[in-house]
């Protein structure tokens, strides 16, 4: 069987993962922590947040050298410490181009699971799938991927150069986009079941279904929460597929939220500069724009919103972020 082709793999420097789970129903813990990090000029190369149900969950990554700063922020802020787990020495493995393929996503989950590569977080961008795993496992993850995908050694980019770090009064972007008529699948399963769920998602890819966004966060008792955003027309197929695949005896559960809308935007060096996520949340806080999911990875910021909120969100975000098309008019 012909191997799926990928165009590249990037590996990050050593990072620290910070996971907020349930946070005693503190639905603003994600934005609160972003604000505090931005105030200390700490960059977030990765952010994955779900707020659809009663137990919000957030997975952040900061650079290893920012670990003490992050710990200090958590310790100083009432309510953050109790539902927070710090995972030291993690890394980000970035695979591109995903082509929005559930087949590729499922195969990656399957082989990483079988290869005993844990996943603490996952977020997609326009082109990339970004997995958080143990830093010591990065090379093994690359080896596993090379065994199953078509990629040559010179397409692997290890440990980036010094990142660009700067702040703008109005943050420049490449522009805003939105996608309407969506559904959100949230699935919870134990990390040890990653190979089986990877296969189930891979099978979904054979139905022609594409994803718009995928996020995941690790949580209590080694459960992974996976969120898939897809066009609403596929809702019935996914629902039936999930009903057949779910193992309630293993404590697995899923639900589908529908309808939903997606707003995304990206800009130069978004993954390297502090304050991008904080500026996003600040623009929408208190403006009746509930955010169901947030993903920041690669160069892209994704927001999943209830139906009817995308246009309003774009208008508000345009006050903080510069849209080049509008700027040139």
């Amino acid at each position: 069987m012909e191997r799926m082709k990928i165009e590249g793999i990037k590996l990050s420097n050593e990072l620290v993962a910070i996971i907020f789970d349930d946070a005693q129903n503190k639905k603003d813990c994600g934005s609160q922590f972003c604000r505090l990090l931005a105030g200390s000029r700490v960059n977030l190369p990765f952010l994955s947040v779900t707020n659809t149900g009663e137990d919000p969950r957030a997975c952040f990554c900061v650079a290893l050298e920012d670990q003490d700063m992050a710990k200090g922020i958590i310790a100083a802020e009432p309510g953050l410490e109790s539902d927070c787990e710090l995972i030291s020495s993690v890394g980000l493995i970035t695979v591109f181009h995903h082509q929005f393929s559930l087949g590729m996503l499922g195969l990656l989950l399957n082989i990483l699971g079988k290869g005993q590569v844990p996943i603490y977080g996952l977020a997609s961008s326009l082109s990339t799938l970004n997995f958080i795993t143990d830093y010591a496992h990065l090379n093994r993850a690359v080896q596993v991927i090379q065994d199953y995908f078509s990629i040559s050694f010179d397409q692997i980019y290890a440990r980036p150069d010094t990142p660009a770090v700067y702040r703008e009064p109005k943050i420049k972007t490449y522009g805003f986009s939105d996608v309407l008529d969506l559904s959100v699948l949230e699935l919870e399963f134990q990390l040890r079941r990653l190979p089986e769920w990877g296969l189930a998602i891979y099978d979904l890819g054979n139905s022609g279904i594409k994803f718009e966004l995928v996020l995941a966060q690790y949580g209590k008792e080694k459960y992974l929460r996976l969120s898939l955003v897809f066009k609403q027309q596929w809702k019935e197929i996914l629902n039936n597929h999930m009903r057949q695949a779910i193992r309630k005896d293993c404590g697995e559960m899923f639900h589908i939220t529908s309808p939903a809308e997606l707003v995304y935007f990206f800009g130069p060096h978004f993954g390297e500069r502090y304050g991008i996520a904080n500026s996003t949340f600040s623009a929408l806080t208190g403006k009746d724009i509930p955010i169901l999911l947030t993903g920041c990875s690669g160069s892209v910021v994704y927001l999943v919103l209830p139906e009817g909120k995308a246009q309003g969100a774009r208008t508000l975000l345009s006050e903080t972020f510069e849209n080049p098309s509008r700027a040139n008019k």
Binding site: E7, G8, T94, F96, H97, S125, L126, S127, T128, D154, Q155, Y157, P160, D161, A164, Y166, R167, E168, K172, T173, Y174, G175, F266, G267, P268, H269, G298, S299, V300, P324, S325, A327, N328
Partner: protein
């Protein structure tokens, strides 16, 4: 062989490569992609594109070097090169600013973040002339 003109998009940001590629394909161009300067040269030799959109800050070989090599090579010097230079106003501590871009032999310079519609206009203009 396709009649569509081939554009090579080179940037170490896969998201930007994808966004530009989608735009180019919607405008009826064929697109080749590269994520570093070495890959860019492999694509140039294999595909000989009409035009290259070339980032300057890249691993292995930067865009300035690639541009210079293209313009000094008799076989490839007629390929149009559009350089994507760094965010000019904000970045002061690197040689990759828009101001620095003007010392090369590139045909066009666009500072990041690029207006994708403007980029399409430039590409279509050059593609029409060639």
């Amino acid at each position: 062989m396709s009649d569509k003109q081939l554009i090579l998009m080179v940037d170490d940001d896969p998201d930007l490569v994808e966004a530009v590629s989608m735009k180019l394909e919607s405008e009826n161009f064929r697109v080749a992609k590269a994520y570093d300067g070495i890959q860019a040269w492999e694509q140039i030799k294999a595909e000989k594109p009409t035009l290259i959109i070339l980032d300057v800050m890249m691993p292995k070989k930067d865009g300035y070097e690639v541009c210079d090599e293209i313009k000094k090579d008799p076989e490839y010097k007629d390929i149009t090169v559009v350089l994507l230079t760094a965010v000019g106003a904000a970045v002061t501590s690197t040689k990759y600013t828009h101001r620095g871009g003007r010392t090369t032999m590139a045909d066009e310079y666009i500072p990041k973040p690029i207006d994708l519609d403007k980029l399409m206009g430039i590409v279509k203009d050059y593609a029409h002339w060639s």
